[in-house]
């Protein structure tokens, strides 16, 4: 269960982390809590997996090239296909979903050339046609969740 303090901390630290030498002091003053307590609580929330990650969220469009891809995988081939797809460092998200296209993953690479190479390899190794869905236009990307 999250306490009121946890919620206060989480709402604040989802974005605009102070970029300075002593950022947690700045946050502690803003939140009106003790700095050591703030660091302790954040570490605990990270350990118990309430926080997936503390870091920077990169704008993929500026850093590299990425693409959402999907495959229709027959049930009996699912586990082998997942192993094959997950083996690529370029695959950073992979979800099984309830649809004829049942395997959905995001592929990101530093260059378009490398991205295309990985996609072609995935298509030939899995043996299934790859649905390629590049982002044409972002309409909204959430910067924080209201808890």
């Amino acid at each position: 269960m999250l306490s009121e303090l946890d919620i206060k901390i989480l709402n604040r630290v989802q974005s605009d982390f102070p970029v300075c030498s002593d950022p947690f002091s700045v946050l502690a003053i803003e939140l009106d809590i003790d700095k050591a307590l703030l660091i302790k609580r954040l570490s605990e929330l990270q350990q118990d997996n309430t926080i997936s990650r503390f870091g920077c969220v990169i704008n993929h469009r500026k850093v590299g090239k990425s693409l959402l891809a999907a495959l229709k995988v027959p049930h009996e081939k699912m586990e082998d296909t997942v192993t094959l797809v997950n083996a690529y460092l370029e695959v950073n998200h992979n979800y099984q979903r309830e649809h004829a296209f049942n395997l959905w993953f995001v592929v990101t690479a530093a260059t378009q050339c490398r991205l295309d190479k990985v996609l072609d390899e995935l298509e030939s190794k899995t043996g299934f046609p790859l649905l390629r869905l590049p982002m044409l236009k972002p309409h909204h990307i959430n910067l924080a969740f209201d808890l």
Partner: protein, 155 residues
């Protein structure tokens, strides 16, 4: 992107340290000054290379247990304006336009919908359907049944 930015991004993709001086510990590992690391983060932030710095909550752990990838087949002429409206709904975390691949894949707008219960997620999807009315020809929700991989970006 310059070499130092690339190094910083690669190094911090698994996360920044939760400790008193996080930028100092990155600086030490890279063998540069703390100020240089701080300045680099500021520049990457200003240029939009970094979308934000902070924590990413685990949706499931904070109670958003019902997450739907909803997909919509919307008239091309209206896809951008309606996509923008969908994106403004508070329960939609991401909304993108993507290409169709006919006949297999007729959908051109993707919206991630989050709810704390199944009913809430379904109601929110219904809200989008009502907003779109006859401009939407078909739609679908793809519930995730398994998270198979979720890692930071590797370059």
């Amino acid at each position: 992107m310059n070499d130092l930015y690339q190094k910083i991004i690669t190094m911090t993709q698994s996360g920044l340290p939760v400790e008193s001086r996080p930028f100092l510990s990155i600086a030490k590992e890279l063998g540069v000054s703390e100020q240089l690391v701080i300045d680099s983060f500021k520049k990457m932030n200003d240029s939009g290379l970094i979308r934000r710095i902070g924590i990413v909550p685990n949706h499931y752990a904070i109670g958003y247990t019902h997450n739907l990838m909803t997909v919509w087949d919307i008239d091309d002429k209206k896809a951008d304006s309606l996509g923008k409206e969908i994106g403004q709904l508070e329960f939609v975390s991401h909304c993108y336009r993507r290409p169709r691949h006919l006949p297999d894949w007729p959908y051109n707008i993707f919206a991630m919908v989050h709810g704390k219960t199944k009913q809430e997620a379904d109601e929110r999807m219904e809200e989008i359907r009502i907003l779109l009315q006859s401009d939407c020809h078909q739609f679908c929700a793809l519930k995730s049944s398994r998270i198979l991989k979720k890692t930071g970006l590797r370059l």
